[in-house]
């Protein structure tokens, strides 16, 4: 019975293409997620990799990422929206707090926790610090960094629905509106779309990870 209702929901005229339809909500969802992940990567990856390369800052990074992970996103979203008003700034900041932690810790750990013998071997061959970083440390750390990115992607894609709590779009619109109207078909459809989106993105990133990883450590 739920399957019939779901089918009817997905096949209703305009369900995909109308304003507020599935394609629009998917695009919004991807846009919010992409924006947050791009900003978080720009901030967290260079910082984490650099600190890992220098081998310092582990204490502060652990404390910071732990604190960021503990922040409740809905609370943060409400607080920031009260301060900054409606718009994209408050939700992007709230989601950044969520995305920074896995990226920062994986970038740091990936570089800092490499076998010291490898670094010594590279330096003994006369590599400069820069060569060590780009030719040894980064390629070896890549699987862990990509793991952090996949982790962050899943968390962000699964949390972007919260943005529908305020006046933004994304697939969360169906969840929040469906709950408000007790339209459970709409909610199940949203859950399905979200799960598929998360799986698809993770599969894509897994492929990218495989392609980028040096053949020697595959």
């Amino acid at each position: 019975m739920i399957f019939e209702k779901l089918w009817a929901w997905f096949s209703a005229p305009g369900a995909w293409t109308a304003p507020g339809g599935i394609w629009q909500r998917l695009a919004e969802h991807l846009a919010y997620s992409g924006l947050v992940l791009a900003l978080a990567s720009l901030l967290a990856l260079p910082l984490g990799i650099w600190l890992g390369h220098r081998g310092r800052g582990e204490g502060p990074i652990l404390a910071l990422t732990g604190a960021l992970r503990a922040l409740p996103t809905l609370g943060l979203l409400t607080l920031l929206t009260l301060w900054l008003g409606l718009g994209l700034t408050a939700p992007v900041l709230a989601l950044l707090a969520l995305a920074l932690a896995p990226l920062l810790s994986s970038a740091y750990a990936g570089v800092a926790h490499l076998d010291p013998a490898l670094k010594q071997a590279a330096l003994a061959q006369g590599m400069t610090g820069r060569q060590l970083l780009f030719q040894v440390e980064l390629p070896l750390a890549l699987p862990l960094i990509m793991g952090g990115l996949r982790n962050a992607t899943l968390q962000v894609v699964a949390t972007v629905p919260l943005l529908a709590y305020i006046n933004l779009g994304g697939l969360g619109r169906y969840l929040i509106d469906g709950l408000a109207l007790r339209d459970y078909t709409r909610m199940v459809a949203a859950v399905l779309l979200l799960a598929l989106l998360a799986l698809a993105l993770d599969a894509l990133l897994a492929l990218a990870q495989r392609a980028l990883t040096s053949p020697g450590i595959r």
Binding site: T81, G85, L86, N167, D177, L181
Partner: protein
């Protein structure tokens, strides 16, 4: 109509019903239920839904009954309407506060009643046999479309009926269900020929985010509850509703007929008569505002002030 039972409540109510059902089967025939002993003592049990104003109202009923030396106890936070109406029908509680319009729509979603009187006249016909709606209070808690007073004055707006020429020029923020409910966007279009330039769904039930959006001028019109203490500020103006788009929501004591004596019913109607929207705003302010007074404290203070010990 889900104004008074936001989403989380519905889920909790579902859980409550499920566990309640289990407990009922387990308790068997000794008259005890999930919510306590039914009808065994002379203490009136007053239930309430699980949001602050409902708990406050239950405490007001209890305080008024005690003021007249009748025994009363409250059972706060029973869940959504599904849950507390079921408990009331079983006699697990004797009284619950409710809202006339939403109660009617819950019992008869096709009702055509519009005015407060029509709602009260329609109720006896659709209530279960053993329940009765006592005389309602003047106090109402209903959806109210609100603008900033300065903006409304500048545009010469006082009522929803003035909105038609501005259709497509003013934005509106409300809970998400407003987009599809009959009193929401479809009703605004049907009754007042008004469509907002944009609809901004904000899911905090007319809470601080909605209010801030109006105050900062990010939207022109918002949907708030009429007992929201913020509406006492001259900063805001409630748009009149001459076309009866929004159903009246008078507060009334809903009682189980056999469990409530005539004397108790009279006390409940007397205290209801004293309860105005203004008074309820003040009490809500004490409970949810900076003071965070307990509903019981706020209720007994107010009843002590306004309700004489002897009739």
């Amino acid at each position: 109509m889900s104004r008074f039972q936001p989403n989380r409540r519905q889920i909790l109510a579902g859980l409550g019903l499920a566990t309640g059902g289990l407990t009922l089967t387990a308790c068997g025939l000794d008259g005890s239920t999930a919510f306590g002993q039914a009808g065994a003592s002379s203490t009136l049990l007053i239930g309430s839904a699980d949001f602050p104003e409902s708990q406050l109202l239950a405490e007001i009923y209890a305080a008024a009954l005690r003021q007249r030396d009748l025994e009363a106890q409250t059972l706060p936070g029973m869940g959504a309407r599904e849950a507390y109406l079921g408990a009331l029908q079983e006699g697990a509680v004797a009284v619950v506060p409710d809202y006339s319009g939403n109660l009617l729509l819950y019992l008869d979603s096709a009702s055509r009643a519009q005015t407060a009187q029509e709602v009260m006249q329609a109720l006896p016909g659709v209530l279960p046999q053993n329940l009765e709606a006592l005389a309602p209070a003047p106090a109402e808690n209903k959806d109210s479309l609100v603008m900033r007073a300065d903006r409304a004055r500048a545009l010469g707006l006082e009522s929803l009926a003035d909105l038609a020429p501005l259709s497509g020029h003013l934005s509106l923020a409300a809970a998400p269900e407003f987009a599809e409910r009959s009193y929401g966007l479809p009703g605004l279009k049907r009754v007042y020929d008004f469509e907002p330039s944009s609809f901004e769904p904000i899911n905090d039930g007319g809470g601080p985010l909605t209010l801030a959006a109006l105050r900062e001028g990010q939207v022109d019109i918002v949907d708030l509850y009429s007992t929201d203490p913020a509406l006492r500020s001259p900063e805001f103006l409630i748009l009149q509703d001459p076309g009866h788009l929004i159903l009246p929501q008078q507060i009334l004591p809903l009682v189980h007929k056999r469990l409530v004596s005539l004397e108790a019913a009279q006390v409940l109607e007397e205290i209801s008569a004293l309860l105005t929207t203004e008074a309820l705003m003040g009490l809500n302010e004490r409970v949810v505002g900076a003071e965070k007074a307990s509903p019981a404290q706020a209720a007994s203070d107010w009843v002590g002030q306004v309700f004489p010990r002897d009739s």
